[in-house]
């Protein structure tokens, strides 16, 4: 004991002595980079103190310190250097380039590459960019984070699937969602639930826990996605989950946060008095039914959610692991909308011996949704809120729920309180891999075998009670998606003569995707207490169905680079065979080629001070889109019974020649750092031509046995544009650091060719009808999602008539369909995001704006909530109805002959959908060590996050969310259309993150 004390005290005493004896002196010097050029702005700090300075423009510094202390020189992109202060008063330092910073690794298809040698178009979203987000699904993590990646939040309801487009919309009739791959396993993303009035079911990727995600890589160009072959055309998002460490330390991180949400913007509805007045003006006298309610207040609430997240990382040189657990209890802003999630993940890998590494990634999650019908559903609360008369009471004088007078037959408050509408989703996802180092056979040769499965099972339980559904009704279904993915790869890496690097990977993959579903329904219950179908007396539904698809692939990629990546050549090829396509075209081959030149490695730039990392690259390649369902090439009859006998009805027409949609892309990229990498700019130009588009070519049912269309490979769409990335370190002092990251994606989207069999519009252009509420069209020579509408002029102040423009541009009160013109388009010209991060002492503040420019939105619910002839409630805009000459009104005179048709589809419902949104603000504070010194805790971070705090949008979008898409996120058919979409939420989150 005594000796120990001595051991501790002696050095301390020595230190004290040195403090006491040493004198402060002035030390000066000059700092240069590896090329000997002066480095301005280098931080010079006396180690262990807060004393320090920065080098001036010529790289010179002066600092006060004592002999025996150490000076620390640090600068971005350079290795930090330390020098012991000796007797000399001059210390000159030459900093070395930090190779590690340049060797930043980028995850790519079936492997990874150093950032320097990556020459296809790839965007990485790092863990720093992800850690401050409060989101519940992986798609939302990409919003505003990567150039050319557009993420539209389609609805504010829990579980809504965001719409993701990478470099524009490259498909008219097929699903244009990108492929998501998690730790090398392509994810199943079939919608296993119904939309309940929305365009699509619950987000299939909502079961992927954002807390498990370490980083995401977006493969954007055809050259980057060619290795995913028939599924690469919409882009590929590679998710890397968290992994363990090698340093022997175990870190436990606990994060707890609570969120408060409310809806951003909603309709402004008439009260009872106003409602009666609007009806009276339009010739209908109604008497109040007694109530005066604002249904917006009734169907929305302040929602409170809590999330607990536990992460454990650890490991050593041999074995490392990550374990994660999340429990999430979320309330939606809409009454009756809730979600409870539990998710576990375990990633472990171990080096069994010098030639074998094995690993297992395993993820189990359970999500219990309490769902709410939305949008176009029979009893969607927000829809009902917009339509229900404000004078209809929710409860009668005795406190019982009313049912009469409620739009859609129900009482949405009773419905959300009494009915069951549950969907519980279980996902088990994992892969096991073994990597065998075959260097004993051939140096640099490795074999990897990876077997994964992905099983999603969704059980829906619905129960409607007696007062809302006389007799009661119950529904129960189970839908499953089971996927098996097996991948075997051989990789080879070799350097010859120190300068010639070869990198090769080749392999086989097999995937099978099985879908099964069963559903039962019962009606006629004795009591609401009998919950399940078994207690019913009639059984309207008893079904069971299944379908299978298979994909067989061979692929290879080779990379050659000269002189540590000065010149890089890359090529890849993949051959896919898919059961989804016609017998005549089951196999397809996809390829890519790329060249890159790290110009900064050339002698003439090696010593440049103003520019670093200048890289130029070009690539081209092809990839495909197979998202057309399993049997689109077959003509079939479906089973449809009559009077207890099984019957057959024709349903589709065959096309044995059906093949993949194929995207061919070219890309040019240039990137460089400036001012010692304080400013980094990357610009890419791309052109993606998608031909062989698969379209359900509309056929006139009159002459085709009632069938509406046939799948054909026709037409061509071109997306071209620039992706721009700018990141900068604006201020980098000891106390304050400010960094900015701006990404911009400019897209021009055009239907470049449609077949002769396409429809011809009034102006002689070929088009394909996309449907939707507005009758959206893909028109040759125009945007893929064009709004084709009659132009509305509005109410004539003198006559009180509603007026439109006819085809020739003259005002008319009797427009016809031939007066429709291209009035707008749903795809933005520019999407992007702007992130600023400020660090000052223990505080850090980050803000994320995202924006969209140049797209139009069709507000279809206006046809309901602004229709003065209907008995529904309406928005306050309808108070502005023409009464007297000179009135500037929205609604025509009640006696105008245009009153019956003024609300037909026209530009009166089309608004500019551009917006700028403060998507995320995060303020966090790292508690100083002194508060928990001695405790087992390593760090404590307190944080607050606000989501959707501010939205700037056009006046016409007042009451609506600019991010809207009733069609849903799969991209089939019309987009950019609103129909009682639940607006986004504003959320405030408070949390604490403790690590020990």
């Amino acid at each position: 004991m005594k000796s120990k004390l001595t051991w501790i005290l002696t050095p301390l005493l020595a230190l004290f002595m040195s403090f006491a004896l040493a004198q402060d002196k002035t030390i000066s010097g000059n700092v240069t980079d590896q090329s000997g050029l002066p480095l301005p702005g280098v931080s010079v700090l006396v180690a262990g103190t807060t004393t320090g300075t920065q080098t001036d423009f010529d790289g010179n510094y002066t600092v006060s310190a004592r002999e025996g202390q150490r000076l620390r020189f640090s600068y971005i992109g350079q290795k930090t250097a330390e020098r012991l202060i000796g007797t000399s008063n001059t210390i000159n330092v030459q900093l070395e380039e930090d190779a590690q910073a340049l060797e930043e690794v980028v995850v790519v298809a079936y492997g990874s590459q150093s950032k320097k040698k990556s020459i296809t178009s790839v965007s990485t979203v790092t863990s720093e960019a992800l850690e401050n987000l409060v989101v519940t699904d992986p798609q939302s993590m990409l919003q505003g984070q990567a150039a050319g990646v557009q993420v539209v939040a389609t609805s504010g309801v829990l579980g809504a699937a965001p719409e993701v487009r990478i470099r524009g919309n490259s498909s008219i009739g097929s699903d244009s969602r990108p492929l998501f791959v998690i730790d090398g396993v392509p994810l199943g993303d079939d919608f296993l639930t119904g939309g309940q009035g929305g365009g699509q079911g619950l987000n299939p990727l909502a079961s992927i826990n954002p807390n498990d995600i370490a980083s995401m890589t977006v493969l954007k160009s055809a050259s980057a996605t060619a290795l995913y072959g028939s599924r690469g055309a919409n882009g590929v998002v590679l998710i890397t989950t968290k992994s363990g460490t090698k340093d022997g330390k175990v870190t436990v991180t606990l994060d707890v946060n609570t969120s408060f949400s409310r809806v951003t913007d909603t309709f402004d509805l008439l009260n009872t008095e106003e409602y009666i007045e609007v009806r009276r003006r339009n010739g209908v006298n109604v008497t109040s039914l007694g109530a005066d309610l604002d249904f917006i207040d009734i169907v929305f609430r302040e929602a409170v959610s809590t999330t607990y997240n536990l992460g454990i990382t650890g490991g050593n040189q041999q074995t490392n692991y990550f374990m994660g657990m999340t429990y999430d209890d979320q309330q939606g802003v809409l009454v009756g909308n809730n979600l409870e999630r539990t998710s576990f993940r375990s990633n472990i890998s171990t080096k069994a011996n010098d030639w074998l590494t094995v690993g297992l990634n395993f993820n189990g999650s359970l999500q219990k949704f309490d769902r709410t019908p939305i949008e176009n559903a029979f009893a969607a609360p927000y829809t009902i809120a917009g339509l229900q008369r404000p004078d209809v009471p929710i409860r009668d004088a005795n406190g019982n729920f009313t049912t009469g007078g409620n739009v859609g037959g129900g009482n949405v408050v009773a419905q959300e309180l009494l009915n069951l509408n549950l969907s519980s989703q279980t996902r088990i996802l994992g892969n096991f891999f073994a990597e065998i180092d075959l260097s004993s056979l051939v140096n640099g040769l490795k074999f990897k075998s990876d077997i994964g499965f992905d099983r999603v099972s969704v059980e829906a339980q619905e129960r409607e009670v007696e007062i809302l559904t006389p007799g009661g009704s119950a529904f129960n279904s189970i839908n499953q998606q089971n996927r098996l993915i097996a991948t075997q790869t051989l990789s080879y890496e070799k350097t010859f003569a120190d300068k010639h690097n070869f990198n090769f990977i080749g392999g086989f993959a097999y995937e099978q995707n099985d879908r099964r579903g069963i559903a039962v329904e019962g009606t006629g219950f004795l009591s609401d207490n009998l919950l399940n179908v078994t207690s019913a007396s009639l059984f309207p539904t008893t079904t069971s169905d299944g379908t299978t698809s298979r994909l067989v692939s061979q692929f290879a990629r080779g990379v050659y680079d000269f002189d540590n990546g000065k010149y890089i050549f890359e090529g890849s090829v993949r051959r896919d065979g898919s059961s989804r396509f016609g017998g005549n075209n089951q196999y397809g081959t996809f390829w890519s080629a790329a060249v890159g030149w790290n110009v900064s490695d050339e002698n003439f730039l090696k010593n440049a001070t103003w520019i670093q990392d200048l890289k130029i690259n070009a690539s081209t390649g092809t990839s495909g889109n197979d998202r057309i369902g399993n049997f689109a090439s077959l003509g079939t009859f479906f089973v449809s019974p009559y009077n207890g006998n099984s019957g057959l009805r024709p349903t589709t027409l065959p096309n044995p020649d059906l093949r993949w949609e194929r995207t061919t892309g070219i890309d040019f990229g240039i990137s460089a750092g400036f001012f010692k990498r304080r400013l980094n700019i990357g610009v890419e130009y791309y052109e993606r031509v998608t031909d062989d588009l698969i379209l359900n070519v509309p056929l006139d049912p009159t002459f085709n046995n009632g069938l509406n269309g046939r799948n054909e490979n026709i037409g061509e769409v071109t997306n071209s544009g620039f992706d721009v990335n700018v990141s900068s370190v604006n201020i980098n002092s000891d106390k304050f650091k400010w960094t900015t990251n701006l990404n911009l994606g400019f897209v021009k989207n055009e239907v470049t060719r449609l077949p002769e069999t396409a429809n011809i519009d009034e102006a002689g252009r070929r088009f394909v009808a996309l449907g939707g509420f507005s009758g959206q069209r893909a028109i040759e020579g125009e945007s893929i999602n064009s709004f084709y509408l009659i132009r509305a002029l509005g109410v004539n102040a003198q006559t009180g008539n509603f007026e439109w423009l006819d085809a020739d541009g003259n005002a008319t009160t009797t427009p016809v369909q031939a007066d429709r013109v291209i009035a707008g388009q749903a795809n933005p010209d520019l999407v992007g995001g702007l992130t600023n991060t400020f660090t000052f002492g223990n505080f850090s503040l980050s803000t994320l704006f995202n924006f969209s420019l140049g797209n139009d939105v069709f507000l279809n619910s206006r046809g309901f909530v602004e229709n003065v002839r209907s008995a529904f409630n309406k928005t306050t805009r309808t108070l502005n109805q023409w009464q007297n000459p000179g009135d500037i009104a929205i609604i025509p005179s009640a006696s105008s002959p245009t009153i019956a048709r003024y609300d037909q589809n026209s530009t009166a419902r089309l608004e500019d959908g551009s917006f700028l949104r403060l998507k995320n603000v995060n303020l966090s504070y790292n508690l100083p060590q002194k508060y928990f010194e001695g405790a087992f805790v390593n760090s404590v971070r307190l944080y607050g996050t606000a989501t959707n705090l501010l939205t700037i949008k056009s006046d016409g979008m007042s009451g609506f969310d600019p991010e809207t898409s009733s069609g849903g996120g799969d991209g089939v058919g019309a987009i950019g259309e609103e129909f009682f979409n639940i607006p986004q939420n504003t959320t405030f989150t408070l949390g604490v993150n403790i690590s020990f």
């Binding site: 008369r389 049912t403 009469g404 007078g405 409620n406 037959g409 009482n411 004993s440 056979l441 074999f447 075998s449 007062i467 559904t469 009704s473 075997q488 097999y510 309207p540 539904t541 299944g546 698809s549 298979r550 994909l551 067989v552 059961s579 089951q586 049997f631 077959l634 003509g635 079939t636 009859f637 479906f638 089973v639 449809s640 009559y642 009077n643 006998n645 019957g647 057959l648 009805r649 024709p650 349903t651 027409l653 065959p654 509309p698 006139d700 049912p701 009159t702 002459f703 085709n704 046995n705 009632g706 069938l707 429809n759 369909q817 209907s870 008995a871 019956a900 048709r901 037909q904 589809n905």
Partner: protein, 471 residues
């Protein structure tokens, strides 16, 4: 050295094992996967069982609400004077307000679904003769084809009423009707046929079908159902004597008899029914826009189709009319007002109420009107037929004589909510709306918006189909 060799050999073995595993996984996949729950086209007429399945499918196709299960049967009632549409569907309100736009989606769906039924019939007629199998007898094949002819005629008669003006206005037989597609060959480009051509085709097809049809069912085509449809056609055409004769023939079939009360709705075995579409809970009306979905009050139904005051007044002219008192329910309409609704289709929840397509009462009414206007008394006098129906309705004493207006008024009260009213008014040259009702001026005979537009989506694809005036 030996040891090293051993290790290397061992590793090579592992390597080979893994590579062969890879090959196994990659080659095992069979890409020829067929659907598990549908039949590919090539097999649909491959044998008798499947071919007869397509015949069942034809009736199933007609079960779509848009075809025979109520959407348009009820829409005719609110386009005329029986129903005061109170619902939310804008496309239905356009019909109610004579403010239809050619892009009206409901009307496109109706066209699409009706031509699907016609297409199924054409497929059967074209393919049944070549179905392999000697056990599929000539008589069975002929019957299947005759059933298809019957269904096709029924759908064409309905469609011709919606999309063109009736014989009684304009150019009469030369009025444009719907395209007459009679072959399953895809891609034909036929212009709209005239009403005369459509009527002639229906008549010929029914006459062709009658000898091949089998009797003894109320849920499928029978000889009497085909004759009853002929009687309906003749009445629409104003061929009153022939209508009376055809109706009389059906009345003479002892398989049918007037039900003694009004409990026959949804009673599939009742002698009242000549052809009723069998709807079951697991295979019923296919939306909430059919008979049961629209016609029940809230919360039992949508509350969309209450009686008009004019229809109530028609019943209340004489007290105790059972067709009013026994066949009504009162409840909330979609706008929270207490209204009177029909209870002919009360099962909103399961939507399994049968569709009353042709019933014997119609034949009595047709015989009465045919005889009255042809000045004949085939089978019975008009007053006898009308009194028979009035007696069942509880209206006594019997009338001594009847007028045409009385016959039509009885027809209205008997067949309300079953889809007859609009055509009955049109063929008699009357306004669709009575004085004091909304939009009377737009409802006069021959007015543009009393008939539907050819759907825009159809004309986009087949511009050679002329649009109706005003659209």
């Amino acid at each position: 050295m030996n040891l090293i060799m051993k290790i290397i050999m061992k590793k090579i073995n592992i390597f080979l094992l893994l590579v062969s595993a890879a090959l196994f996984f990659s080659c095992e996949g069979k890409l020829d996967v067929l659907p598990e729950d549908s039949i590919v086209n090539e097999l649909a007429f491959a044998d008798e069982s499947l071919a007869l399945g397509v015949v069942e499918g034809l009736y199933s196709s007609a079960q779509q609400d848009d075809v025979l299960n109520g959407t348009w049967q009820l829409a005719g009632e609110w386009m005329a004077d029986n129903v005061d549409f109170a619902g939310t569907f804008p496309t239905f309100n356009e019909v109610r307000q004579y403010a239809i736009i050619p892009t009206n989606v409901s009307i496109f769906n109706m066209w699409d679904d009706n031509y699907e039924t016609i297409g199924s019939a054409n497929l059967i007629i074209d393919n049944i003769p070549s179905v392999p199998g000697s056990t599929f007898t000539a008589a069975e094949r002929a019957q299947a084809i005759a059933e298809a002819r019957f269904m096709r005629s029924l759908v064409y008669l309905n469609m011709s009423g919606w999309f063109g003006q009736p014989l009684q206005v304009g150019a009469g037989r030369a009025n444009l009707s719907v395209p007459l597609v009679t072959s399953s060959e895809p891609g034909l480009e036929l212009p709209r046929a005239t009403l005369g051509e459509v009527h002639d085709f229906i008549e010929a097809d029914l006459l062709l079908a009658i000898p091949d049809l089998a009797s003894g069912t109320r849920v499928k085509a029978t000889p009497s159902a085909a004759r009853a449809l002929l009687a309906r056609l003749y009445l629409i055409q104003g061929r009153f004597a022939e209508a009376a004769v055809a109706a009389n023939q059906v009345i003479g079939d002892s398989f049918y008899a007037l039900s003694t009360n009004y409990a026959f709705y949804n009673q599939r075995g009742s002698t009242e029914h000549i052809f009723t579409l069998a709807n079951n809970a697991d295979d019923g009306q296919d939306s909430f826009e059919g008979f049961s979905g629209l016609s029940n009050p809230v919360p039992n139904g949508r509350g969309d189709t209450p009686f008009t005051n004019n229809l109530i007044a028609a019943y209340q002219e004489e007290p105790g009319d059972l067709r009013f008192t026994a066949l009504q329910q009162s409840g909330n309409d979609a706008n929270a007002l207490i209204r009177i609704f029909t209870n002919k289709f009360p099962n909103f929840q399961n939507r399994d109420d049968d569709a009353p397509v042709i019933r014997i009462t119609e034949m009595y009414l047709t015989r009465a009107e045919g005889n009255f206007r042809a000045n004949t008394s085939v089978g019975a006098t008009p007053v006898a037929d009308i009194n028979r129906l009035r007696l069942r309705a509880g209206l006594v004493p019997p009338l001594g004589s009847v007028t045409l207006d009385q016959i039509l008024n009885e027809r209205r009260k008997e067949l309300a909510f079953e889809g007859f009213r609009r055509m009955d008014l049109m063929r008699n040259g009357q306004n669709l709306r009575r004085a004091g009702m909304p939009d009377v001026a737009l409802s006069v005979p021959g007015a543009n918006f009393t008939i539907f537009p050819i759907p825009q989506a159809v004309r986009d694809l087949s511009p050679f189909l002329d649009q109706n005036p005003g659209y």
